[in-house]
């Protein structure tokens, strides 16, 4: 009843099948990048990708996810390399950051289907609520990510996590590699 794939791994949740996916992800799988903001599908902070669609994870039960493929912000990429993530940093989109996982998942799902969306298509896809007011940068960042997907632009704005100290020291003269100490 509650067997499906989360970030390319098979999972069976031994929870009430009526549990919304959001809480299985957050409280059972500790995938806390997906946020709770309203529980009624209005804010979009809990948006995840289910079989290629951007879905409010507070609005689907784990029973309804049976056999499907769920991707969360943690599974979008392991190294922040998705063009949307890179464009989000290049255009300095996030402020408090709380709604941004949902925004990024919605934008990534949009671009997968249409790498060159119009303003109206972006507005229709991006119905997430942001209180900090990151909106003015979102259309631009999605367009930039689209250009990257279409091979028209390259960006390296956000470094991958887990850079080894020795590699960091090679790039930054002020740092010292561990063996030098």
């Amino acid at each position: 009843m509650t067997k499906f794939s989360v970030n390319d791994r098979p999972v069976e949740y031994r929870m009430d099948p009526e549990t919304p996916l959001l809480w299985a992800l957050r409280d059972a799988s500790n995938l806390t990048g997906t946020k709770y903001g309203c529980g009624t599908g209005e804010c979009g902070a809990c948006t995840v990708d289910i079989d290629g669609e951007a879905i409010r994870s507070c609005m689907v039960t784990i029973a309804e996810c049976e056999g499907r493929f769920v991707t969360t912000i943690e599974g979008l990429t392991r190294d922040r390399s998705h063009p949307v993530q890179q464009a989000w940093v290049a255009d300095q989109v996030p402020q408090c950051g709380f709604c941004q996982s949902g925004m990024i998942m919605a934008a990534a799902a949009l671009l997968r289907k249409n790498s060159n969306p119009s303003d109206a298509e972006i507005d229709a896809a991006m119905t997430n609520i942001c209180r900090c007011g990151t909106y003015p940068r979102i259309r631009g960042a999605i367009r930039r990510a689209g250009r990257v997907l279409r091979g028209e632009e390259r960006i390296a704005a956000a470094p991958p996590p887990g850079i080894r100290p020795a590699d960091a020291a090679r790039a930054v003269p002020a740092l010292k590699a561990p063996h030098e100490r």
Binding site: P20, Y36, G37, W88, P94, Q100, A174
Partner: protein, 762 residues
């Protein structure tokens, strides 16, 4: 170690000159005060911890032998970018390589006291009993001493850079001197001949990494006064550096209070009933205890919590328990709030601002008046209030986003009976806040639950709870009365503002842990200068007065992004526009005539109108103007708005801002964009009605917050300036609603005098 390191954070330069004699006068006259001052500690030591290979230099800086520099930020990151801005200032002064900077949140320590906010909002932070009223210098000094003693590390009033640029720069200058001294010893050279660049101490061709001299430098005695780095050819200050928190905010790894995971941790949901003097009356125990997954329940005098293995199960259990509450006294309702505001406006008020002689100037003249009304404004951050608490032997650990960490810790200690020193607070980032994180309810509740069930717990409020139990920015009404000169200009202006004395309530909640309903009742009827701040502040009007008419609305009220300026700017800018129209004058030139003493704002206004192609505001243009100054910054705004079949359509906002020197122009732009959109949300929604003591809105979608599709084109320009930095977090907010209201008048010929904007008459 002595020297400036002990002064860091105490803002020594802002202390008034207090002679020993003045202190003696103050002290003798107030008895106990002299004793209290004697025992107040004068010097505080940093309480940082060092990782292996890390050396603590002062309250703001640590350097690792590997070359990383840990910068300590004593402010809450709630989206405003403070965890980039303060490090940017320090890295610039230090001569560091930006890629070596790490950020830590500050522990609670008097060294990080925000004395600037304490000075600006003296009404809020003046402890009544401790301070003599009659010697103003001593009063200010005592207020700061009190704030330092209580480690008032407030994040508020767009003050992070204004408060901490000096201390951060001094802290970095001190470390830089120590690094140069240590390097000079190795080279047997004069340290003052050395320089720093890119994370190295340099002397001619000689170079040493900061990390290589950190250990030796940390043992040296710094110079008594800061020696600042000469202007660099390529300064970090003023650069559009990428915010340090962005990588973690695009991959889901940034941790908020609800993302803490601890072994054996469980999840709690809560119901608190109506605002007001509310008590938990009963629960349906039989139905509730059968809830699947329920682990514990906690019954408190004022609330009820259920604990389960996941938050959804806990919240569903609450439905089954169906807790009932009873509230003493008349329940809060929108009708009652309106009546109280109207009554306050008719009653005598307190004259807070006075210039010239309004009574004489208005005597026998025709008065022009207008009445405005503003609804309560909800914070509505996307993160609902959340805290994680874990018992730890006889102690307690708490993870929460707070804008006043020491007061949060003290509130937890008081509620649990623990000593403050037994409560460890881990400040985390806030998912929005807009001053909601000045409320510590969730931390206190999580602490009580954790101690009762004896295991780590994470409490998150549901969205309905967040809306119903949010303490909103106050609703307000104003009656603006003017007499005009022959040319139609304003000769005399009286603004009467009915609004609760919010800041006295805030003080009682924040420093005395007074329940909100009690604080509301206690404050009723008292004058509050901060509650009318910003009204027509910028205009040079010959006879001018502002009255505060304290309204007893029953509803507790709080601080909010923009505070009082968010409604006083609406009153001012709408009324000025009405007077301009009445005089048959262009709204721009009408304002310019009164801005003789505000040249910076006048410059913004001219720039904004030229950028937007100001068409004179005549009917049919759909353009509206507004301007405002607060916290050392200025904004002029041209809005284009008109009615459409989908309701009010705001097409464009053109803003010109003078915020002085910008530490990071990219972050400044983000903040102004955010402020404008926050103002836009408040112009169209972000409010609720109240009925029977409860907010009528339960869902986020009922608050009318804008989506991407409703966002107008934004054009923002900053005035180049070398001025001291002004506040940037709030300046975008206040001018939006009046600019849109004025644009709607130009488009339709109808005045809107209500917020959220509505044509409904008052």
């Amino acid at each position: 170690m002595t020297g400036i390191r002990d002064k860091v954070g105490q803002s020594g330069t802002r202390l008034p000159h207090v002679s020993r004699r003045q202190i003696l006068i103050g002290a003798t006259a107030t008895g106990g005060l002299a004793l209290a001052w004697t025992f107040w500690p004068r010097a505080y030591a940093p309480n940082l911890t060092a990782a292996r290979g890390e050396h603590i230099f002062n309250a703001f800086l640590k350097i690792g032998e590997d070359g990383h520099i840990a910068m300590v930020v004593p402010q809450c990151e709630m989206g405003q970018g403070v965890t980039t801005l303060l490090p940017q200032i320090m890295a610039d002064e230090l001569g560091a390589d930006w890629r070596t900077i790490a950020v830590e949140t500050a522990p609670i320590n008097p060294l990080y006291t925000n004395t600037l906010v304490v000075d600006e909002d003296s009404a809020v932070f003046t402890p009544r009993r401790l301070v003599p009223d009659f010697v103003s210098d001593v009063r200010g000094w005592a207020r700061r001493e009190w704030a330092v003693r209580h480690a008032v590390m407030l994040t508020a009033n767009s003050s992070s850079v204004r408060m901490f640029e000096g201390p951060c720069r001094d802290a970095a200058a001190q470390v830089r001197a120590l690094l140069m001294m240590a390097a000079a010893r190795r080279w047997d050279a004069d340290w003052e001949q050395c320089d720093t660049e890119g994370g190295f101490v340099t002397l001619g061709q000689k170079k040493l990494r900061f990390g290589d001299v950190a250990a030796a430098a940390a043992l040296l005695e710094p110079p008594a006064e800061p020696v600042y780095r000469a202007a660099s050819a390529d300064p970090l200050y003023g650069k559009e550096l990428t915010r340090l928190d962005l990588p973690s905010k695009v991959d889901g790894s940034a941790n908020y209070a609800g993302d803490i995971r601890l072994p054996d941790m469980v999840f709690a949901a809560i119901r608190q009933g109506p605002l007001g003097a509310t008590r938990l009356k009963s629960i349906d125990r039989k139905a509730g205890m059968a809830s699947p997954g329920l682990l514990h329940i906690v019954e408190h005098e004022r609330w009820f919590a259920a604990v389960a293995r996941n938050w959804w199960a806990a919240n569903r259990a609450l439905d089954h328990f169906a807790p009932l509450f009873e509230t003493a006294g008349t329940p809060i309702s929108s009708g009652r709030i309106d009546k109280a505001l109207a009554a306050a406006l008719k009653a005598d008020g307190y004259r807070i601002v006075k210039k010239g002689d309004v009574a004489e100037a208005m005597e026998g003249r025709t008065k022009v008046a207008a009445h405005y009304a503003v609804a309560p404004a909800l914070h509505a951050p996307i993160e609902t209030r959340t805290a994680t608490a874990a018992p730890d032997g006889g102690r307690l650990r708490v993870w929460v986003a707070t804008q006043a960490p020491a007061q949060c810790r003290d509130a937890v200690a008081q509620a649990t009976g623990l000593a403050p020193s037994d409560v460890t607070l881990f400040p985390v980032m806030a998912g929005g806040s807009f001053d909601a994180c000045l409320d510590h309810s969730a931390a206190v509740q999580a602490a009580i639950i954790a101690l009762q069930i004896k295991r780590p717990v994470q409490l998150a409020w549901s969205r309905a709870e967040e809306i119903m139990r949010d303490i909103p920015r106050a609703p307000a009404r104003a009656r603006m009365i003017a007499t005009l000169d022959a040319a139609g200009g304003i000769d005399a202006l009286v603004a009467r503002i009915a609004v609760p004395p919010t800041n006295h309530e805030v003080r009682a909640r924040l420093f005395d842990n007074t329940p909100a309903d009690v604080a509301q009742r206690d404050a009723a009827g008292t004058p509050d200068a901060v509650a009318i701040e910003g009204l027509a502040r910028v205009y040079d009007i010959r006879h001018f007065a502002v009255d505060h008419c304290p309204a007893d609305i029953g509803l507790p009220t709080a601080r909010w992004r923009g505070n009082a300026d968010s409604y006083t700017a609406f009153f001012t800018e709408c009324f000025i526009d009405e007077m301009a129209a009445r005089a048959g004058s262009d709204a721009l030139s009408y304002r310019m005539a009164m801005l003789g003493k505000s040249p910076l704002l006048a410059h913004c206004l001219l720039t904004a109108t030229s950028l937007a192609g100001w068409e004179g505001g005549i009917s049919g243009t759909a353009q509206g103007l507004a301007c405002h100054s607060m916290r050392g910054s200025h904004i002029a705004l041209v809005a284009t708005a008109r009615p459409s079949e989908r309701g009010l359509q705001v097409e464009q906002l053109v803003a010109v801002v003078d915020a002085g020197r910008l530490v990071n122009p990219a972050i400044a732009r983000q903040q102004v964009e955010g402020g404008l959109i926050f103002g836009l949300a408040a112009a169209v929604g972000a409010t609720t009605d109240y009925e029977g003591g409860i907010a009528t809105a339960r869902k986020l979608g009922q608050l009318g917050l804008p989506h991407l599709a409703q966002i107008p084109e934004l054009l923002i320009e900053f005035i180049d300036s070398d001025r001291e930095p002004g506040g940037i977090g709030e300046i975008g907010v206040p001018a939006v609603a009046p600019a849109i209201a004025n644009a709607m008048f130009a488009a339709t010929g109808h005045r809107i005098r209500r917020l959220p904007l509505s044509a409904q008459p008052i």
